[in-house]
Amino acid sequence: MEAAQNRVVALIDQMPVGGTVAVKALNNVTANCNDLTITLPPAENQTVLDETREASKKVAAAKFPGYIDCVTDADIGGTQLFGLLAETAASYPNAQIWDVYSDGIDNYNLKGLRKGKSLNDPNYPAQAVANLPASLVPRLTPDTVITWHALGRGTDLDAVALAGLRQIYTIWASTTGAISQVAAD
């Protein structure tokens, strides 16, 4: 989570006036966790703008752990990552920068993914995405860039299965019309 928090601060550091940086985490319907959002309003001069930006970075860093605690308390014991991604698209339809942090493998939407057996089938990633409900593969705003972080890092998948897992997410992104990249971190 530290990497994600650092990324949030880095985004705030570079966001333009009028911009928004939001954090959206896995959520249960019983949870009541407001997304963490930071905006940068216009300022009367550069000094004020710089001060506002620095203050926003501190606010985000301070609120981040509490937000994570909130959503984690409502953890449903498995990943509904595609549902979360679809919710994100609905909540932030103009977002063109996506950073997705997920290092697990369990997924409610992809039964059989666990243990990595399916991931050794080269045809599986495309089939898996094709079988997702249309509501879980929304069309994203043009020029959206999705960066996947830590994919599969919390699993014991072998190299072939890990490549299959990554392929699922890159195919999903491609289907939404987004540009997809896997982070080096």
Binding site: P16, G18, V100, Y101, V145, T147, G154
Partner: protein, 74 residues
């Protein structure tokens, strides 16, 4: 230093330069189709504020907080 020694030293130097060049290219991401990304920036690729393509205004960080449940069957 005789001719043979100089030639060997020259070859070693050349090899070292080639190795460093290749290393620099790899580190800079050249020849790698997958960007060495930490994440996209607000400014369009290759551009700066005012260049073609307006900068992004909204960024989202999406977290799968149940990543630790890899041992929990779903």
């Amino acid at each position: 230093m005789n001719t043979t020694t100089r030639t060997q030293a020259s070859r070693r130097t050349t090899a070292a330069v080639v190795l460093l060049t290749v290393l620099a290219l790899v580190l800079s991401g050249c020849g790698n189709s997958e960007p060495p990304a930490d994440g996209a920036g607000f400014t369009p690729p290759g551009g700066s504020p005012g260049s073609p393509g307006s900068p992004a205004q909204v960024a989202v960080v999406v977290l799968d907080t149940s990543a630790s449940v890899t041992t929990t069957p779903t």
